[in-house]
Symmetry: C2
Subunit: 199 residues, 2 copies
DNA sequence: GGCTAAGCGGACCGGGCGGTCAACTTGTTA
DNA sequence: TAACAAGTTGACCGCCCGGTCCGCTTAGCC
C-alpha cells in the first residue's frame, strides 16, 4: 500500500490538529468535543474527520505517538550501567510526560486499536525488561512484577490531578513515595498475587 | 425547617434509587445516565428528579454518605492502642470501599455541595489526626503529611481499575506497596513539598 | 369508603455532540 | 496558466441526555 504524500496544507493542518487535540484531551479528558478541537486548531470540523475517521482514531493517534516514544526511551535505558537508576529514570520521565496526557486513555478509549495494542505490548515488554534488570541489581524488591510497576507508573499523574494549583514538579514527590514502596528495604509481604494482564 | 416524613412508597423508592445510582455511577462514572438509574431502580425518570433536583445532587447524596461513614470509621480508630496499625487498618477499609465507589467523584462532581465540602473537611481532619499519631508512634515516615496520605489513599482503587478481571482483593497488593512507601525504613528524600490543599 | 395531597411516570423540550455531505477553495502538476 | 484532484468547510442529521410538566395513581387519614 503506497500512499501519496499529503498536500502541504493538509500536512500542516494534521500537525495543528494533533497538537490541539492533545491539549483538549489533556484538559477535558474524553469529554473534549471535536468542535472545540477544531476551533483550537483553527480548522473546520469536517477537516478533523477527513484526517481521523472517528474521535477514537484521533485519540488513538495521539496515544500511539506517546506510547512509541516512551518505548524508545525505555529501550535506550535498557543497557544503562546502573539498572536501578535506569528504571527510576524511566519512571520519572514517564510520570513527567503523563502530566500532559494521562495514560488512563489506554483504558478510556474503549475498543483499542490493533496498532495501539501492539505498541502497548512492545512498551510493556520493554518496561518489564527494565524491571527485571533492576531487580537483578537489587534495586527493586523481588516480589513485584513488571506489570505491578507498569500499573504504579500511572500513580503520580493521577494523584497530582487531585491537586488544583499543583506545582509543576509535584509529581516527583509522589513518584518518590511510589519508588520507595518498590525498594527492597523495609518491604512487607504484598498479599494477593500480581495480575497477569492489565488495561 | 420541619419536614414531614416521606410517604412509605417514596421512602422505599428513595433507597432503591440511591442503591441503583451507586451501582450505575460505580460502573459508568459520571457518564451514567439518569434514565439508566431510573430503569435499574424500577421507577420513572421523573421520580429521580423529585427526590434529587439534579444529577449532581444525586451523586452528592451518595458521596456524602460514604464520606461520613468513613469519618466515623476514622474517628473510631483515633484512639486505638497501636496508632500505626490504626492508620493502616483505616487505609485498608477505605481502599476496600472504594472498589465500589471511587473517590474521584469528589473531583468529578464539579461545584461541590457545601454540605459535602464540610463533610470532606471533617474526614480530612480526622485522617490527618490518624496520620500524626502514626508518625508519633514511628510507624510512618516523618516527611509525609496527612494530605499526602489522603491522596495516596485513592491509589489502590485507581490501579485496580486498570485490571479487567481483577481478583476482588487485588487492591490489597497495591495498598501494601503504598504503605511500604509510607514507612520510615528505607525512606529517601521526597523532593517537592506537599501541597497545602487538594480536591 | 371517600377525600386529598403527596408521589409517580413518561411524553416532551432544548441543547450538545459525533459524524456526513455537497459545494467551494487551493495546492500541484504538466 | 489551465485543469484536476485533494482538501476544506459549516450547515445539517440523528441521537442521547438532563431536566420539565402535567395528568394519573395511591398512601394516609377521617
Amino acid at each position: 500500500m503506497v500512499t501519496r504524500p499529503l498536500r502541504s496544507d493538509a500536512a500542516r493542518n494534521r500537525v495543528l490538529l494533533l497538537a490541539a487535540a492533545a491539549e483538549e484531551f489533556a484538559a477535558a479528558g474524553m469529554n473534549a468535543s471535536i468542535a472545540d478541537i477544531a476551533r483550537r486548531a483553527g480548522v473546520g470540523k469536517g477537516t478533523v474527520f477527513r484526517h481521523f475517521p472517528t474521535k477514537d482514531d484521533l485519540l488513538a493517534a495521539i496515544v500511539l505517538d506517546r506510547v512509541e516514544s516512551l518505548t524508545a526511551l525505555a529501550f535506550s535505558l535498557a543497557s544503562a550501567d546502573d539498572a536501578g537508576q535506569a528504571l527510576f529514570d524511566f519512571l520519572a520521565e514517564a510520570a513527567g510526560r503523563q502530566q500532559q496526557l494521562d495514560f488512563s486513555f489506554l483504558r478510556d478509549s474503549g475498543d483499542i486499536n490493533d496498532q495501539l495494542r501492539e505498541a502497548r505490548e512492545r512498551l510493556y515488554l520493554t518496561i518489564i525488561a527494565l524491571v527485571e534488570r533492576a531487580q537483578a541489581a537489587g534495586a527493586v524488591r523481588a516480589d513485584v512484577t513488571g506489570l505491578d510497576v507498569i500499573l504504579m507508573m500511572c500513580v503520580p499523574a493521577h494523584v497530582v490531578s487531585f491537586v488544583p494549583g499543583a506545582a509543576p514538579d509535584l509529581w516527583r514527590r509522589y513518584l518518590a513515595m511510589v519508588i520507595d514502596g518498590l525498594r527492597p528495604e523495609g518491604a512487607h509481604p504484598l498479599g494477593p498475587p500480581s495480575p497477569v494482564e492489565a488495561v
